[in-house]
Structures are given as C-alpha cells and as structure tokens.
Amino acid sequence: MKAKKKINWNYFLIAPSLLISIAIILVPGIMTFVFSFTDWNGLSPNINFVGLKNFAEIFQDKVFYRAITNNVIWVIMFLTIPVCIGMLAACLLLNRKKTRSIYQVAFLIPYILAPAVNAMLWLNVIFSPIAGLFAALRNFGINLSSPLSNVKTAIYACAGVDIWHYWSYLSVIYLAALRQVPTDQVEAARIDGCSSPQLFRYIYLPNIKSTVTLMFVMITIGSFLAFDYIKLLTGGGPAHATEVLGTYAYNLAFSQMKVGKAAAAGLFISFFGLIASAVYTKLSKSEEME
C-alpha cells in the first residue's frame, strides 16, 4: 500500500513571488542578454544577429569610458561622503533620546521627496542664474558660474544633489543598528574609561559591521544604477560630462533607436552590480564562519 504523499505547502507559498521574479526580472534579463547581440531598434520586427558588434562599438566609444569613469566617481563619493555624514548624524542622535525622532523626520524630508521635485528645487533655487542662490551671489558682485555648466565639476554637482537627498536614509539605518548594540557592552566600556572615539571604534563599529557592509554593497549597486538625478539635472551633459551607464544606455535606446546596443550597455550595469553582490555574499560567508 502506497503511503499518502504529503503536500509541500512551501512551493505554493513561494510561487507568487517566484512567478513575479521570473516574469519581471529573469525573462527581461534573458531578453536583454539576447538583444545585446542584435541590431534591434526597439520597434522593428526585423531583428538581425550581429554577434559581438555592439560590444566592439561600445568599447571603441569614448563616451562609454566616460560613463564608467563617472560611475566609479559616483561609487567613491557615495561610499565616503553620505556614509560619513550619516554615521556622524546617527552617533549624535544616539544620545538624544527625546528629540531624535524630530531630527530623523526633518533629515528624511529630502529622501521622501520625489527626485523630480528635488532636482527642480536645486535647479531653480540654487543653480538658476535668474532666481537662485547663484543669481543672489551675482547681485552681491560674486560672479560664480553654476557647477553644472562646467565639464570638470558637473558630475560632482549632480552627485552632491543626490547625496543631499540620500545621506539621511543611511543615517536612519545606522541609528537603528547602533540602537541594537548591547547596552551592557557600552556601559562596561564606559566604566573602563573608553573615550567616545574608542567607544565607537571598539564597541559600536564591530557590532554594526554587518549593517555597514550591507549598506556598502547596496550603495555600490545603487551607484551603478544612477540615472534619475543626472537625467533630471543635466541629461548627461554638458558634452557627456555627467554621462553614466544608465543615461548612456537610455540615450542609445530612446534617442538613437539602438536598443541592441543599449542592451549591451545595460549588461555592464548588471555586471558591476553582480560583482558587488558576489563580494557581499563572500563577506557574509566569512562572517558566518567567524
């Protein structure tokens, strides 16, 4: 007599998210990979296989290297400036038990505003030569040009706006992690005469290491996906000075109708994200071993 087969409900429970992931991540991912070897213009039913031509053309394009360089600049800036500001703010808020909620809400306002709103604010309130801060400075005889107009500074200006909106998010994450640090360790260290920097270095930082590592990886992945603030502030200009892989691929797909080539550029975005994910997995495993 056959034993009655048990229904494994796990498969049913995981099915919806799996199906959604397959439909909107795996299938488009495979399609992007396949289209990167074609000359598809995004509309035509005539799709020709062109081998590695798209990749060869991209490797010969100076703008592609400019885009990668800008993405790397973006990663470096985001791994340092907002991390330091966010951590500093979180440490300062840690001991402000009564008022930290108000500060957190105030700091988070740029983060919860839509990127389009933030970009318009900066374009019109800060950078505008008619009504912005730069116009006001001109009235006082300080004739400064907007950093967005200079090919050497434009990428830093764009990153600055994005960092302004992003650092508070990190601050909230770090604060949540810092609050989980066992108070007995903190108190013991204080009794032993630890200074504040020593307390941070030897008690808090080791305890929030996994959160910091995770955020490093998320920032790296996010930096290679950078698109919205650049598109809104400069569109990748002037003269490609703020081009990143995201705007480069968008321009290929929607301005030049070269979707095949855009797919090839898109693969590089995924490639860098994949490296960051692999590093995170490796670090997580090492942590588990410890």
Binding site: N41, G42, L43, S44, P45, N46, L123, F127, S128, P129, I130, F134, S145, S146, L148, S149, N150, V151, A154, T234, G235, G236, G237, P238, A239, H240, A241, N251, F254, S255, Q256, M257, K258
Partner: protein, 450 residues
C-alpha cells in the same frame, strides 16, 4: 473578527460597485479616441482642450477625444507602440522620429485620407513630402518652426543699436552688449538637451548653405567637406565668445531666456519661432510690443532671406487602432490642418500652430493679440520663402535619428572634448549607415544660387 469580515465585505462591495460604474462614467457610451501630447504650458493645454477637444466632442456623439499631456511623450510613444499599444493619434517630435516607426509598421499609411481631405493640395510641398516614406504619407507636420532672431526693441533703441541685417552687424551688437554687462543673447538647454540642435541646424543652413546641405543629405557629398566644417567651426567660435548665453547656457531654458529678454538683460534670443509660446508669458501689457523677430541675418554664403525648415511636431495614425478609430483620427488631424484652426489656436497659443498651408490668406489677424499677429507674419514669410526655394534643413525634420543625435551632441565640439574634424567624421559615419538603410526622409531641393 466579525468587524474585519464586515470591513472586507464592504471593501469588496465598493470595489465591485466602482468597477461596474466605470463604463457609466465614461461620457455615456462614447468610445475614447486618444492622443498623447507633450507637456505644454497650462495656458496652452487649455487652448488645445477648448479649440480642438471640445469642438470635436460636441460635433458628434459617438467618440470622445482624450488628450494626455506627457512630458516624456517621445519615449512613452516608442515604448507603447513597440508593445502594439499607444494612442490612436501618434505625436512625433519631427519627421525623423517617424521613420523608424514606419519601418516597424507601427504607423498607418495616410494616402487615402490625404486624397479624401486634399492634404497634398493644401500643405506646403516640402512639409508634406517630409512626412512621406517611399512616396507614402505617414505623418503631417502640425506647425512650422524656423530659427530666427528675437530681439528686444527697447534694448536696441536705448543703446542706439540697429536691427542687424548681416551676421557681422549681429556679432557687433552682441559684442557691445557683453561690454555693457548684458548677455550677448539668451538661450539654454536646461531640461532639454536637444536645444543644441537648433544651433547645429542654424549654422548648417547659414554657413554651410542649403545647396551644400542638399548634396550632403542626398548622399552626393560627404559631411566631411569644407562648408560643413566651417559651419561647425563658426558655432564653436560663437560658443567661445559667449554669444550663446555664455556659461549660463546649461542653466537656462527657453522660458527663462524669454524672461531675461523681456527684462532687458539681453538684446537677442536666437532660437526657434515656437518660442513665441514662452514669450507670451513675459511680453505682456506695456512691454508686449517690445518683442521683434527677424530671420537670421545675411551671411557671405547665404545672402538672401532663408529659413531653416523645422517642425513643431508631427501627427500620425496608430496602425494598431481599429478602422473606425483610424478614420476618426484622420478626421481630427484634418481639423488641425486648416487656416481657421491655425487662426484660433495662434490667437490663444502663439508660436506652435503655424500650420504649413500653401494659402494663409484667409487667416484674419485683426482680432489677434500682438504676439500672435507677429507669429502669423513669420509663418507667412516662411511660406513665401519655401515657395521661392529659400530654405535650409532643420535636423529633426530632415536628418535620420542617429545623425540627428550627433547634431544634438555638437556641444562636444563647444566644450573641446572632440575636434571639429572628428565630430564631422562621426556624423558622416552615422549618416552613411542610415543612408544605406533608407532612413533619410525625402529632401526637397532648394533654389540654386546664381
């Protein structure tokens, strides 16, 4: 628990009720005819609703014209059509935008409608032909746009400057303006990088010249010729001298530029005639008549009044729409292709609806505000110049998309990231590919200089 069940039941009931109510709310049993449009200024959107949507909807009881204003209309249209969806009336940012859509079979041939409504007879031939692919009509240009020089009459008069008639005079006034602490001219590409193409097209028309550009666009001559190189070099010279708003170019848009012109911060705004629509917000009341417009002044290469032929937008019909919707879409497009519509729209929205008609004699400007009257004069003047063959080629009308994109990137030369020669070679490389694929729109022949 009971409370939760009750809330769930009420929510479900309300959802079902609202779903059932949707058809009843959709303006009786009318079917929607859809059109997507760019995100024009609020007063302009209102004008289109009042003068196109409402009259059409009131004229019959079967269909309901719905216009959606979308700032990202170009990308939206491409994505929707790729999925065999999208609006019945397809907006395009110029005939060159239309070519890939035709190649992909996304647009309906409009020859039968052209015959029905007599479009070939009433629309200026170069504009009509720019909407054809291999002799078949796929799009109509809604409005003429041309590059020219807007000027503030008061600024010129106050400083004793004459309205320039040659490029040398124009440059002399701009030099003098900068010495006085004014902008040489105001313009900028904030929020819309393709503004660069205005200046690429302008210098190709007035420095390289229409004859050379005709040969280049018909494949008779390479882009890498002295005349084209001279045109790009001239644009760089203007950039270096700060004639294009100096370092504020990336921080100004057309609206702000017109604001500065009205505030007497510059003698000139060199840009497309569609900019009248932004001027209407700033040249108001006592200063309304301070605004003047002249065609780009004479150059050594192009001494006669010559206009760069540009388009405000194109209108096509979605090939995936039902036959009834296609017929209605054609009817609506025809409503926009007549002098009366141009007259009414221009009165309310100057600058955008310069319908490219051969005969504009019936357009009555007597009741129009000053700016609308001035815009009609520009359109009439363009119409005369086209009939005389004095025209050049705006890139969004006559260049295929990748070539057009290279013109948009002319700022690579301005910012010294690419040499003029390398830049022109890169245009040639893109153009060759697109020319071989047959993606270049029909190029009307200009008058041959004697």
């Amino acid at each position: 628990m009971k409370g939760k069940k009750l809330i769930a039941t009420l929510l479900t009931a309300s959802m079902l009720a609202s779903a059932a109510a949707v058809p009843a709310l959709a303006d009786g049993d009318r079917e929607d005819i859809t059109m997507w449009f760019w995100g024009a200024e609020p007063y302009a959107q209102e004008a289109l609703i009042n003068l196109l949507v409402n009259p059409y909807n009131e004229s019959q009881d079967q269909y309901n014209l719905v216009v959606e204003f979308r700032p990202s209309v170009d990308a939206d249209i491409q994505t929707a059509l790729a999925a065999n969806e999208g609006p019945d009336i397809v907006y395009g940012s110029g005939p060159s935008f239309v070519m890939p859509l035709v190649e992909a079979g996304k647009l309906e041939p409009m020859d039968a409608y052209s015959e029905q409504y007599g479009w070939a007879d009433k629309i200026l031939t170069p504009y009509y032909e720019s909407g054809t692919v291999n002799g078949t009509l796929y799009s109509l240009v809604n409005g003429v746009s041309t590059m020219g020089v807007f000027y503030n009459k008061k600024v010129l008069a106050d400083n004793g400057w004459e309205v320039p008639t040659t490029i040398e005079e124009l440059e002399a006034v701009m030099d003098a303006a900068m010495e006085k602490g004014l902008y040489a001219s105001v313009t900028g590409n904030k929020g819309w990088q393709p503004v660069n193409e205005n200046y690429g097209s302008l210098f190709l028309t007035h420095i390289a010249g229409p004859e050379t550009m005709y040969k280049v666009l018909t494949g008779e001559e390479s882009w890498e010729n002295e005349a084209v190189i001279a045109a790009v070099t001239k644009s760089k010279e203007w950039w270096d001298k700060g004639y294009l708003a100096g370092s504020d170019y990336p921080n100004l848009n057309f609206s702000e530029s017109l604001q500065l012109l009205s505030a007497e911060q510059s003698p000139f705004f060199i840009g497309p005639s569609i900019a009248y629509q932004w001027a209407a917000s700033y040249f108001t009341g006592d200063i309304e008549e301070n605004l003047g417009f002249i065609p780009f002044p004479a150059t050594e290469q192009v001494p006669d009044t010559t206009y760069t032929l540009g388009a405000a937008c194109t209108l096509s019909i979605n090939a995936n729409a039902s036959q009834e919707h296609k017929d209605e879409a054609a009817k609506i497009i025809d409503m926009m292709m007549n002098a009366e519509f141009m007259q009414n729209m221009t009165a309310a929205w100057p600058g955008y609806w310069g319908t490219p008609l051969k005969d504009l004699s019936s357009v009555d400007t007597s009741e129009m505000p000053y700016l609308s009257q001035e815009f009609v004069k520009v359109v009439q003047s363009v119409s005369e110049a086209v009939n005389a063959g004095n025209f050049g080629y705006y890139d969004n009308v006559f260049f295929p998309s990748a070539t057009q994109n290279r013109i948009v990137n002319i700022d690579e030369v301005w910012y010294d990231t690419v040499s003029v020669e390398d830049y022109v070679a890169s245009i040639q490389a893109e153009f060759e590919v697109e020319f071989e694929k047959g993606l270049v729109p029909p190029i009307p022949q200009p008058a041959v200089a004697e």
